[in-house]
Symmetry: C2
Subunit: 359 residues, 2 copies
DNA sequence: TCATTAATGCTCAAAAAGAGCAAAATGAAA
DNA sequence: TTTCATTTTGCTCTTTTTGAGCATTAATGA
């Protein structure tokens, strides 16, 4: 983090002239866009997946994805929206670029001789108003439609991220012992700096000494991948994965680097929800405050005390009552609210500023 | 923001199978990496630029950039670090991917028939410990070295973002009247939805009704570009720019979309500084609290009351005293501090959590 | 009618943030 | 040497925000 500058006084800087780029290298690549299209359905965060065939006749879950052609589309986002609306017959509301990955060996199988692909991940949010027939059932299983696409809980892919019913037992049962072993495996003479880094990275990502930071979804996934505990790591032929005997199943795996893109998406959404009013992209036009809270908690994990959550969103001016009420709540009817679009103008960073806490 | 879903019940979803990608389109592109390498030098935020030749014999400022070749580099960041350390003879500490741009017509001149380039922007931070000969002088001008690279205040490119001496007068003199004119120019019958959007976007980005949000650097730049007030818009042949007679000079322009990348970098850094201890990547190992405050203010604009800033960083455990003091401060000697690396483990999001406020 | 269940309203204490006064420790000037 | 200007640093006081709990209200269903 504090490397010395290796600057040679006698030589001038040799920064490439930008125009030189066309002469230097012309190894062209393909651009693939992959979208994590998220929604919250009966308090469960779900993501749209498709089934993709594997070489051996099986199938894997994948994120909807498509190529980007600069000739056809003016911008990346236009390209994304175009093929999503075209293929999924679903119009995206909110869409945001996440990250561009180009790691060798993590997109296709290393043996594969397909062209190098750079994958650009996107996060898109939709409202849960599709027909129930294609949606998620109440009891959390999932159904696949004719084209092989379905909505699936994102915690199927990241069970360790689901803290809604407390700390998942998968930590003490699998993750902690295996990661500890992996960290120690590096404690061999010769490589002196790495072991500290590993143990420290684990502590940071999983908040061992301090606090669980719900936003570090990607850090945690990457660590598990590097430790070889993720099925994709074995698929990619990573050494760490091959050292383990039988791999414990840590969530459902996905095609290519799609699980990594999904991890990025979840982490980004968890962060953004706190300072931009993105939850409302996931809500119907009218909702009760408790429904809003449940949606936030589906994304972040259990957070605020009910009364304080109400005070929070109301006093921040994020919502306004519609005047109607919802009956059949099981108790007193709940007032319905709608998003108050004007906050966007009033506050620099309006969002559901929740901190970790109790139910 | 709330478009209805266009879902046809009778047709199943037609999501593309991810494997289909290789068959659909093979229009390959080149990947260019551009880095906004930032430092803070005598309380001035600076960025490393290079001179690039224009077609007509002149030269423009550009960000250091280079091609990414998947054959040579395992990951994007490895590629970036490699050519930066190679070409600039400067080792990057902190580096972070910003955004991938692929807008047609904004990378090269529209007449240009060069291959389509997707540019991936990076933000990198370095410590201001280069030799003074190549650095920025105290009085804010800049010197160019033999290879044409120099450190230049980032506010040269975005004068409207510099609120350290209050609200820049360029707003009332140029920006506000021109943007108002541009917003109204759309008030023609026929296009009914756009005008509201324009005026609202202006209000949001520039905080007309509410608060100035220092993080929206890109929003503001894009708006000025769309309004044709940015030199690059004229260069790209944008209609809005051609409508203006003489263009007021709104900051120094850059090659390709580099100013957009720099805008993204500044916005990202302004956001990140609040919840991750990235300021310390810009500080020497030892510093006084006032030096730290000055650095934060160089990036964000004037913020906290001195005593409260001290309380903030000390009580957050971000720093620890080294025991030494710095004399010649002009008054009582100041204690020297260093970054307390342990906070990373203790707090989920340690940063200089400053809100807008007074000096 | 009454028990149950949520939604909602309100209070109180603790913590954090905003703002200012004043003492301490220097270098420079008288 | 003394005084003064200047900057760091310590501390207090007030206001706001947050965390947590109790009490009331208005439905539903037995």
């Amino acid at each position: 983090m504090n490397k010395p500058l290796r600057r040679d006084e006698t030589e001038p800087m040799r920064l490439s002239h930008p125009d030189r780029r066309h002469r230097l290298d012309t190894s062209a690549v393909e651009i693939g866009l992959s979208a994590a299209i998220a929604a919250v359905r009966s308090d469960e965060p779900v993501v749209l997946t498709v089934k993709a065939a594997t070489g051996d006749g099986g199938s894997v879950d994948a994120l909807p994805s498509g190529p980007f052609s600069p000739k056809e589309h003016r911008t990346l986002e236009v390209g994304l929206r175009d093929w999503v609306s075209d293929q999924a017959d679903l119009t995206l509301g909110y869409a945001e670029q996440l990250y561009t990955f180009a790691d060798r060996g993590r997109h296709a199988n290393p043996m594969d001789d397909s062209p190098h692909t750079v994958s650009i991940g996107y996060l898109a949010l939709t409202r849960p108003s599709w027909p129930a027939a294609n949606g998620l059932n109440g009891n959390h299983d999932h159904s696949t439609d004719a084209a092989g696409s379905n909505w699936r809980s994102w915690y199927d892919f990241f069970p360790w991220e689901d803290w809604r019913r407390g700390r998942p037992e998968i930590f003490s049962r699998v993750i902690e012992p295996r990661l500890a072993e992996w960290a120690e495996r590096n404690e061999v003479p010769g490589s002196r700096s790495r072991p500290v880094a590993r143990a420290e990275r684990i502590r940071m990502a999983f908040g061992i000494g301090g606090t669980w930071d719900e936003e570090r979804v990607l850090d945690r996934y990457e660590l598990l991948y590097e430790a070889g505990l993720i099925e994709e790591a074995r698929r990619d032929g990573r050494e760490a994965a091959l050292l383990w005997g039988q791999l414990p199943k840590l969530g459902v795996s996905m095609q290519y680097d799609h699980r990594r893109i999904l991890a990025t998406a979840i982490g980004r959404l968890r962060g953004k929800i706190k300072y931009r009013p993105v939850v409302f992209e996931l809500m119907p036009d009218e909702f009760t405050l408790f429904e809003l809270q449940k949606t936030v908690e589906a994304i972040l994990g259990p957070h605020l005390h009910k009364q304080n959550f109400r005070r929070l969103v109301e006093s921040a001016g994020l919502v306004e009552p519609t005047g109607d009420v919802r009956a059949k709540t099981g108790g007193r009817p709940a007032k319905l609210f709608r998003f108050r679009r004007e906050v966007l103008m009033e506050r620099p960073a309006p969002g559901v500023r929740v901190k970790a806490g109790r139910m």
